[in-house]
Symmetry: C2
Subunit: 236 residues, 2 copies
DNA sequence: CGGACGCTTGATAAAGTTCAAAGAGAGTGG
DNA sequence: CCACTCTCTTTGAACTTTATCAAGCGTCCG
């Protein structure tokens, strides 16, 4: 207990060590808590934490893919977002998690105690502003997705999804895009049915915009055509 | 300039005056900046600030109703949220506004300089945690709306909209719910067309769940039936 | 290798959109 | 103060998109 307090005081005086840390963002700060960190492994389909659970930890995805889901009373499901290596979860959940996190593929996660993290932030302006930026970015992502769900057609949604996955995931090699999630996950993310997602992909394939060697791999053959369908001429 | 610095230092030492302020949340803290505040009036349809504008101010709605809109490249529009008296806008927009804010009805707004506000926050833990809570709440609101757009039918969306407006706006007197926004606004908020919104309202009216004396007034005749349609048996 | 699960495609049905036109309300100018 | 007009709302009918239902296929895992 004493050693914890000492450690935190030492860690919290900011701006001395931050030069080597700032470009890493929040992850860099979390690095300072590595002695408290717990490394976890999950299999496909495992639940990391469910909506309503006490948010005792901040999670950093090391490798793999997570889905953040919201379950309705009657079984309907929405996937708010997918997380990949480097992404964080739980920053905005002060008390209880608002969403459930489930492993889409075998996933390695590092859990940092929230209490320690919060204390770290108390003495660290840079960290706090990075947390603020992270939350702002989450809001903006959510708003972009609101627009997608509110205004775009099935075809546009699927195309937009592909472009966003290319921007976001590190699973792009050239034009090869790895999609660890299943069609049902994509459908629940885009507010469509599995069948409609399949048909939209099939249509893009028929137009030679993409190739689909297998269900978890898309090769983008005509990126600008894809962007055009997505309605995002320049990445915003 | 000097007086500004002095004032801010005096104001920033927190926890002395905060007892009478905490229950008011962020608005209470903004009150301390009243000497820098500007009061603005807008007519129906006026733009308070457009997406992309420099976010130089935090806005507090005093009276009236705003819509926060996202405009696509091709004219499609989504309304992310409606704001009423007591609501704030701009807290999450560090640099430029992500959305446009437009007056739905004649509206009075107080603008506080962001720079002063940020400085206020630097020395005030309570304010910062309230800002954090505000951003978290924004994210949760957005996620609930994502679920609405992704999973609910037109009928359910309209019912949910009505229940949320009853919870949110102060424009509820008994079962009378004032809807300052037009049908097109509601449609753009719910990802539907005007006609579909009208038909859903007409259906609820035909089932005696609501009455619609005029386009901007809904009387909820059977609140539990409305909640049932909304799929929110208990308010979550 | 077998079986189960997820993916894909087809046919049909339903929900919502689009197009069209009439009706109601609010604000304006005579 | 009334009539007019413009805009918004409402309802109807046809059409489009997407969901639903159903069946076959492929693949991955055990």
């Amino acid at each position: 207990m004493t050693s914890t307090a000492v450690r935190l005081r030492a860690v919290a005086d900011d701006d001395l060590v931050s030069a080597d840390v700032q470009h890493l963002g929040i992850s860099g700060h979390l690095e300072r808590l590595k002695d408290y960190a717990v490394r976890l492994r999950f299999h496909r389909g495992d639940t990391i934490a469910a909506a309503g659970d006490a948010a005792a930890h901040i999670y950093a995805v090391s490798a793999g893919c997570l889905r953040l889901t919201h379950h309705g009373n009657d079984g309907r499901r929405h996937i708010a977002d997918f997380l990949f290596g480097g992404d964080l979860w739980g920053l905005g959940d002060a008390d209880n998690f608002a969403l459930s996190a489930e492993a889409v593929s075998p996933t390695t996660i590092t859990a940092y105690p929230r209490q320690q993290f919060d204390r770290l932030g108390e003495g660290n302006n840079r960290l706090r502003s990075e947390i603020f930026a992270h939350l702002s970015a989450s809001i903006q992502r959510a708003h972009r997705h609101l627009y997608l769900l509110s205004c775009l057609s099935a075809r546009e949604r699927v195309a937009t999804f592909l472009t966003r996955m290319m921007q976001k995931s590190q699973l792009v090699y050239g034009a090869r895009l790895d999609l660890p999630m299943g069609r049902q996950d994509i459908a629940d993310h885009l507010g469509l049915t599995v069948e409609t997602v399949c048909r939209a992909l099939a249509a893009l394939k028929a137009e030679s915009v993409i190739e689909v060697p297998n269900a978890h791999l898309v090769v983008v053959r005509d990126g600008s055509a894809l962007s055009a369908v997505a309605g995002e001429p320049s990445l915003s």
